[in-house]
Each structure stands twice: as C-alpha cells, then as structure tokens.
Chain length 204, copies 2
C-alpha cells in the first residue's frame, strides 16, 4: 500500500517527460531536418536534463524512431476523432481523402520523410526504422479502410486503398518545397470520383 | 583560323570535366546522402582538381543542382530511346509504366529526393532547386505524354498522367529502405488496367 502513491506520480512524470522529448524531437526534425536535430538541441527544447533524456532514449536513433512512432499514434487517434464527426453518405469519402491529404502534408509526414531519407545512408537508424515503417504502414492502411468504411474482402478494394496511400505519399513529397495545394486539390477531386466508383458496393 | 583548333578541344575537355563532376556528384548523393556529399569528396571521386571544380561549380548548391539537371536530361533521353524500342499496341502502356517505375526507383530519383529533403531546411539549396524541380516536373510530364502517345486535350488525360507520376513518386519513396518491388508490381498491374480505360481513344 505504501508503494503505489509514490510510484504512480513518478510514472506519470516519466511519461510526461517522454512525451515532451518526443514532441520536441518532431518539431526539431521539421524545423532543422535530420542533420540539424541533435539530442542536445532536443533536450534543451523539451526542458529536460541530458541525464533524463539518456535514461529514456540512449541514442539519437532510439529518440527519433520513438518520436515518429508516438506522433503516428497520436495522429491516428486524431484522424479517428475527426472522422467520427464526418457525415455518413457519399460526401464522407471526399472528406476522408481531404483529412488524409492533410496528414500527408503535415509535420508527421515531413519528420518521417527526414528519417526515411537519412536512414538510407545510416545503418543504425535504418535498423530501428524499417520495422517501425512496416508497422506504421500496416496501421495506416487499416485506419484508412476503417475511415472509408469499406470491406477489404471485396475485389479491388485493397488495391484501391493502397494506391490512394501511395498517391498521397507522392503528393506529400511534391508539396515539400512549394505549396502544391491547388494542383493537389484538383488531382484529388478526380481521384475521389474514381475511388467512389471502385469502392461502390454495387461494383463487383 | 588559329583560334578554333585549340578552342574546340578545350571546350570538349571542359565538357568532359563537367560530366565527370556531375556524375560523381550523383553517385556520392546515392552512396552517402546529402550530408555525406562534400565538394572535396566529389572532386576526388571525379579525378578533377579543386580549382577546376570551383571554376565550373563555385558552390555545393550549384554542383548538386547541375548534377540533378544533367542526370534528368540523360535519363529522359534514355527513356525516349528505350520507348522507341517498344512495340505499338495495347502492351505499350504496360511497358511504359514499367520503364517509369524503374526510373522512380533508380539513382536519379534517390539523388533528387536527397536534395528535395535537404532543400527544405537549406535556403541556398532551395532557391537553386525550386526552379529546377518545376522544369524537370514539366519535362517529365511532357515526356510521359509522349511515351504513352496520348492526346492531352482529351478530358481526363492530363489528370491521369499527373496521378501516374504522383503515384510513382510515392512508390519511389516506399522503396527507399526496403525492396518494395513485388507490392509495386501488383499495384501497378491494377493501375495499368485503370489507366488503359481512362486513356482509351473511345473513352469520352
């Protein structure tokens, strides 16, 4: 009985410290890129001591992969909440694609892309990132299926969801250096119509 | 009369030096990434003196953007030559998409992606790269229209070509850290069928 009251707040403090570190890491990646993101800069930004940081995340690779995993989970929850507020009916698909389009041009995408590119030539980062990338990819696919409310067992649905996510990834890269939003909107407008045809329940 | 004979070989030597530098730059970007690519490493790899390098490309930004522009032109020529060897008829579209799929997972794509990501947080590089990216993007679009032998004035064609290139860019990123070729082949198989429907001359 005497252990619980002190242990719980300590765990909570620990979790809060971790969350601050992870969010500072993503902010750093977005602002300064991979090479400008150092563990020292992140600790200072999060207001966390170097000792506490090293206790939770002993290496830069551990810190950045944990940060992207953390933000991916948070973003998935946000997408689910936003999607719950969407109307049912034919406009739902359009709005879901808009939400996903925003996610693939937002800070998480930019931070993840910094890591993917850096991991190509950084073995330690690659080894940490490859399993995470596979997991986040699977979860993003499952989330999209859920948001669209479609049945993957129907022919063509799985491929259409995959193509949508690959297309959105390509559009995310096209938006890196300049605002590509008007071209993206026009392109996704056409895409939504095609997707609606493929995903329509009456479609074989 | 006395100037021309010496001037021509000098121009040729100069062009050869430039080509060696630009190709060494792309190789460096692919092997070592943006941060591992230094002008010193490139000069040594190309077997060119630092003086000659600085004469042609005074900054790292000038060198890397020239390298990507040079390789983009060379790759476009290769694609045109490869496409000339393709049969006419319904299989042509499939083979063109395969050629483009290979281009978007090849060294030029990887080198260009290194620059796009680095340019996000490097102002000098960004200023050099944004106009180049726009030009290469337009040329890639025009090249694809030519390879497919389609008429952009027909409704839906322009959007379908754009979506194809954005999808291929997304697939290129998905292939960065692990071999995504079997998933990509399956996805492009479906894509080719949809594209054939949209691009078919009888389609309104």
């Amino acid at each position: 009985m005497s252990v619980a009251p002190t242990r719980v707040p300590q765990q909570e403090r620990s979790r809060a410290t971790q969350a601050r570190l992870l969010e500072a890491t993503v902010e750093c990646l977005v602002e300064h890129g991979w090479s400008g993101t150092t563990t020292t800069v992140v600790a200072a930004r999060a207001g966390v001591s170097r000792g506490a940081q090293l206790h939770h995340y002993p290496t830069k690779a551990a810190l950045v992969t944990a940060a992207v995993a953390h933000l991916a989970e948070r973003r998935a929850e946000e997408l689910r909440t936003e999607a719950e507020a969407l109307p049912a009916g034919p406009q739902r698909l359009d709005r879901v694609i808009d939400l996903l389009g925003a996610a693939f041009t937002g800070p998480l995408f930019v931070a993840a892309l910094e890591l993917w590119v850096a991991a190509r030539t950084d073995r330690e980062l690659r080894e940490a990132l490859v399993p995470l990338e596979a997991r986040v990819g699977r979860e993003m696919h499952r989330l999209t299926v859920g948001l669209l409310g479609v049945d993957e067992r129907r022919p063509g649905v799985r491929e259409a969801v995959q193509a949508t996510l690959d297309l959105l990834r390509g559009l995310g890269v096209a938006n890196l250096l300049s605002d590509d939003s008007s071209r993206r909107s026009a392109l996704l407008h056409t895409w939504k119509r095609q997707l609606a045809t493929v995903l329509a329940p009456e479609n074989p």
